[in-house]
């Protein structure tokens, strides 16, 4: 099922509703892959479609709408992360007692609906480690491991080459293993 871009550009409400029905779930799961909280991911998905509606005229018809929507979603998610990090940094107590030697900051409002209870603690640690990675590595890992995209699709979404995706994925895995190792070692000793 495809959406008529011309109809979207003309501001057709029905076409827009169809766009949400086709890509809404994918965008929501992508947001959940980066922000592991159902409510936040839902709000971000909503924002993605509102942004898409506002800027649909700038969409080039040769490109794929899914890729375009995914890019908007990624930008929204990282903006959200930056905003929450900034808010935390301004906490007085945080700035007084914050010791920067903790490799992983566990997500405080972890509520991912797709993760089973037995996996929750490990997933929480993984999400914490992911949040400390550079954005490009975070994105590559999320798109590959959680969205099940292949290298070519990831390359298209991130506007990079396939070899760059391979490199980003391998660095992301190495970085995650290192951070998780430190985290579990510390937890075992304490």
């Amino acid at each position: 099922m495809e959406v008529n871009i011309q109809e979207l550009k003309a501001g057709n409400e029905q076409a827009f509703r169809q766009l949400i029905e086709i890509y809404g779930k994918g965008i929501f799961n992508l947001c959940l892959g980066i922000i592991p909280n159902r409510e936040d991911a839902e709000d971000l998905t909503q924002e993605v479609f509102i942004e898409a509606y506002k800027h649909i005229r700038s969409f080039r018809e040769g490109s794929h709408i899914k890729t375009w929507l995914f890019r908007i979603a990624l930008n929204k998610c990282y903006d959200h992360i930056k905003f929450t990090k900034r808010k935390k940094r301004h906490g007085i107590m945080q700035s007084l007692f914050d010791k920067d030697d903790n490799p992983i900051e566990l997500p405080s409002n972890f509520a991912h609906p797709g993760i089973t209870i037995e996996n929750k603690e490990h997933a929480k640690a993984l999400y914490g480690a992911l949040a400390s990675l550079p954005e490009t590595q975070h994105t590559a890992f999320t798109l590959y491991e959680m969205q099940g995209m292949d290298y070519k699709q990831i390359a298209e979404t991130m506007s990079v080459s396939v070899s760059a995706v391979e490199s980003l994925l391998s660095r992301a895995r190495a970085g995650l293993r290192k951070k998780l190792h430190t985290y579990y070692t510390r937890n075992a000793s304490s």
């Binding site: 409400e13 827009f16 509703r17 949400i20 029905e21 809404g24 779930k25 929501f28 799961n29 959940l32 892959g33 159902r38 839902e42 998905t45 909503q46 479609f49 509102i50 509606y53 991912h112 609906p113 797709g114 993760i115 996996n119 490990h122 997933a123 640690a125 993984l126 480690a129 491991e145 959680m146 895995r173 995650l176 293993r177 998780l180 190792h181 579990y184 070692t185 075992a188």
Partner: protein
């Protein structure tokens, strides 16, 4: 469990993740929000933007300054033309065609009815 095993489990924890569904009526909610935003945008067309407000104040000040300058200029011209021109009593009498009796009345300090 060894540390490495923990790391492996954590790395695999998101692999078998179920994809989540959006709540029922999500698309309607988004469309509703868009309608609301569009309505607000239409309303905001009738309100003036801050830049327009500043421009209006600036224009008003400019108009006031020009008007003030024009008024001051006119006053100066009026002042120049209304300079005292040393009019003698004879000139005055001739201008208003006053006869001798009237002249006496004018020159004397006593009122006419006395």
């Amino acid at each position: 469990m060894k540390i490495e095993e923990h790391v492996d489990v954590a790395m695999q924890s998101v692999k078998g993740m179920e994809s989540s569904e959006l709540p029922y009526g999500f698309s309607e909610r988004v469309v509703g929000k868009l309608r609301l935003q569009n309505r607000n945008n239409v309303r905001s067309l009738y309100t003036f933007s801050p830049l327009l407000k500043i421009a209006a104040v600036f224009i008003l000040i400019l108009i006031n300054m020009v008007t003030l300058r024009l008024v001051m200029g006119t006053q100066q011209v009026v002042q120049n033309t209304s300079q005292p021109q040393f009019i003698t009593l004879n000139d005055f009498v001739n201008d208003y065609q006053i006869n001798d009796t009237n002249e006496e009345l004018i020159t004397s300090n006593t009122p006419a009815h006395e």
